[in-house]
Symmetry: D2
Subunit: 336 residues, 4 copies
């Protein structure tokens, strides 16, 4: 009753998934590894007694691999995900599902041809206790309809290879997905407002930015993206509804009193802030693989996020603050 998992392209996030499956979660085991660099694959596989495969196809088709996790570089996602689909094996793909909407569409087509959901996208915020409580409050109806959402996505610093569009495609993509999840609606437009830039950044980067989104029912969403704030990984979200507001708390484990006043820590990074969400995400995925029905964020969610990102990046590259429409294909009944 253990799910035997193969992992394709284990970089930082892939190795932390291996560690959690091995040391923290129930009923999963990583039995297979592949990587463009075979020596790297060997180093990862050895301590957990996993087999090394020459490529994704070989790993996917191994008899003792029940399900696959794809954590390779984004442009490689489509190939591996489609291969897994064609092998009839559940596949958990880290975000983004793929860098372009076209690739996502091809994944969806393959999945629909196969006739059942096999793909889950790694949008882990849906598994955070805070976002789930917000959703529960909204769904309960007690505060009326959501009207606005204010988000902050702040990182202490970004590396030099963090390029302009990544504020949208790599950072704000989490808010793009979780807004769709919380509100149960598609996003129909995106606009980027560009504030004064911090001096604590690489010259190539616009930082901070504000991404403004609208949903089908006109909920107005703002996402402050600030990836060089110098002080911490600070994620905030407040949904303003007709009769009240619900916001993420700080989840403060302790409150300290001293020369700095009364204070609580801000997380250092996403691993600290979302460790529990990552664990829940993968445990629920393992459970759903065992249960035979994938229920997490779907290919459609990966596709929708990609299209919103496209509109956001176009606005970021345009002069001033121009709004771009988000044009989705009609949603297949398959993903209803």
């Amino acid at each position: 009753m253990t799910v035997r998992i193969g992992i394709i392209g284990p970089g930082g996030i892939g190795r932390s998934h291996i560690a959690r499956i091995t040391d923290k979660l129930a009923r999963g085991r990583v039995v297979a590894v592949t990587d463009l660099d075979p020596a790297h694959a060997q180093r990862v596989a050895e301590p957990i007694g996993a087999s090394v495969y020459a490529d994704d196809a070989a790993l996917i088709n191994a008899d003792d691999v029940d399900a696959v996790i794809v954590t390779s570089f984004g442009p490689a996602h489509e190939g591996s995900v489609v291969r897994a689909i064609e092998a009839g094996k559940p596949v958990f793909c880290e975000k983004p599902l793929a860098p372009t909407a076209a690739e996502c569409l091809r994944i969806m087509e393959a999945e629909q041809r196969g006739g059942r959901r096999l793909v889950q996208v790694g949008f882990m915020r849906r598994y955070d206790a805070g976002y789930r409580e917000i959703k529960a409050v909204l769904d309960s109806g007690g505060v009326g309809e959501a009207l606005m959402v204010h988000n902050r996505h702040r990182n202490p610093s970004s590396p030099e290879n963090y390029l302009e569009g990544m504020s949208i495609t790599d950072t704000a993509i989490h808010e793009i997905d979780v807004m769709r999840f919380l509100l149960g609606e598609e996003i129909v437009s995106a606009r980027v407002d560009k504030p004064k830039r911090t001096t604590n950044r690489f010259p190539h980067l616009s930082d901070p930015l504000v991404l403004v989104l609208r949903t089908t029912s006109d909920v107005l969403i703002d996402v402050e993206i600030f990836v060089n704030n110098t002080y911490g990984y600070d994620i905030q979200c407040e949904v303003v509804a007709e009769r009240g507001a619900v916001a993420l708390g700080d989840q403060n484990a302790t409150v300290r009193t001293g020369a700095a006043g009364r204070s609580n820590r801000i997380a250092a990074d996403y691993n600290e802030r979302f460790e529990a969400a990552f664990n829940t995400e993968l445990q629920e995925w393992i459970n759903s693989v065992q249960g035979g029905e994938i229920v997490g964020p779907s290919s459609w969610d990966g596709y929708a996020a990609a299209v919103v990102c496209d509109a956001g990046v176009r606005s970021l590259r345009a002069d001033g603050s121009q709004e771009f429409a988000v044009e989705l294909i009609e949603k297949p009944a398959f993903y209803a």
Copy 2:
């Protein structure tokens, strides 16, 4: 050494100013009252032993009136303020200084002709302990340059005679002024984003709204305006700077624990939230009248706010989310 004050047009705010001068502040006394409705003036004047005057000119020119407070209807402000200037008497004028930029300009011209500052505008947020602490942090330089400011201006409900543009000219005008105060910069553009409307409002009203402003150095300011939130008077402000953020606290006098969890009250209205600021505002004005030099928010501040409001109202009335430039005259050295 008491400042003898005449009040013109004492409605709700005027009467609360009379009450605070009489019962809470030092070295001021209301000695004269006038109102379009003489019976009303009589009712206000009698309990405090003040004289009633037939009109603003008579009150302003009374020998025992040292300084004037104008709390009449906005369209009447210009006349009274200019008369006070021409009589050489300090005048505290409730916000707005005047409903249009043209009127504000005429007030500024009169004041400059007189050769010294006599006008203070009732922008009381500049006297709130919270905004003052934010300004002190920014001015200390410890958090670097301000880059963005997020504001929330929420009221539990608006009356039926609260018309569309008043979200800007009556409500957001406070943030417009206090942003100029905190940042020490002019606002150069205004845009209104229109979210999904709450069902808890009069049909004629767009509510909530988001007003987006930019300053000369490109600080990006958003102001959520939500005047029918059903729950309370909730004022929030967070300045995001290069190395940290500073926000208004809740000023919670108590924290309660019970069936509703751990909670603190939200103020019921602006009187509760800003009572201390109103007191400080008028005490400092009385002090400055005695000291011979008016130092609070000036005619220029009233004018600048009016021009920003104009741009905001135009954006509110335009389709979609259009940005409008704020075109100020060159700032007279007189107001430097």
Copy 3:
């Protein structure tokens, strides 16, 4: 309609009362000053144009002195307060009313002979917005009966002349009074628990201490007294009742986010923390002098606090943690 006030023994607290009457409060004026050091009295009187008197008797009996404030050294309180009573003039006496219960009793006897309440004791916490909200919640009955109260009275440091018993008589006396105010009951016993001592103190001082009190209905009160905490003036109070708890909030004007996490300031000293309470205290006293009826904390309150302090000091000096009964005289109907 201005209350003309004479001040006896203006040290630090006296001068801050003069400043607030002069610059912040309505309808009071300091017209007379006396001090053991006539040169000091002269320095205090001059900038406010007050007269200097040779001694308390002369000041009290001056025709233009309507009411008296006593801020001299504690052992001098009885004489001045009794003289004011005998002159039929309202007298505001800083805490303690007097250092011993015997002196307080003599003040009460003089006041009762005079036939009307003339004395108010400077227990300013009763005027703090936080304690008042706690009292309002308790009095509303919504949380049931109070069962326990937890207090913290923390100072950053104590001066060398702060002697052992002063933790009770000078510091915890505020909690002793405000507990009686919140609960509407007398305290019937006192016990001091002595924790490990901080190394940041003078060798002569036991610091911190915990004072444990019981009321007539058996409400159990603890007061942590820690006067060398190194970090700030930190006053906390939580009343635990049958169906919930109510505590003082931090009254945080701002919340800061940065390298120290999310934080709010702790007050530096009692002037910062209780400035508004001091202002309200004296304004309400001036109002009550004008209204002809003194309503603030009475001689009885001063006496009761002194007796509780006595029991506390005895416990502090005893070995271990011994409880001492608080023996009050029967409360005169005069103070009902």
Copy 4:
């Protein structure tokens, strides 16, 4: 590499341990169950495919049982734990290790005879992120020595079979252990102060209570125990040290704003509040069983808690507030 676990006496806590081992934790499996009621054992065992044994001896000695969890009624603990020790199998025993110090001593003797640590006691608070952060701050030395600790242990209600002494032996025992853990010192005395009783309790019960403890270095600890507060499971702990204080935060996942003000939830029960701690506790135990060295709370910790409970219960039963010494045997080097 899976630890095969047998469970003895699966009531509520036992079944939740089975659920977490089966569905949430890595590398453990429950393979054996026994209970005084064989039908109950059968119902528990069946869904997880475990074997049922007639008694604890049979289960402990089963070849495929690597380690044992004891969650039976307290008086049965000693027998099962000693049998596991004699079989050389690691045993996790829910708190209390045993109801009396004498039983705990016999367990310790058996364990020492066996020559290696095999027992871990279920003091799960040591695994809570909040307490661990407090300990890290203390251990870092940045706030100096701990001087006092204030604890609140509040439950919404207690069942009728919750008898007088259980406030100490069942409820405060968690604080007794976690204080020893945080401070790294033994407790040397216990005293119970008895406040006014809530009307929301069974007549047989003193509720609330305050347990006051001292450690070897004279740290003074108070524990408010209030098991019928009507509103929630509210655990608080503040360690006051020489240069600051560190307290548990509320771990608030969300903050809500509405008619009740700004609020965060209080946990409903210990499962909600400490779910993560329970998971960490058992995962670390499984890890240590695999690693061959038991490192969690030991028999000595179970014994020390039992002796402190004894002193507390004696004080509870005595008149007034009497302090009782905690008399421990000399600590065996085995448990150093």
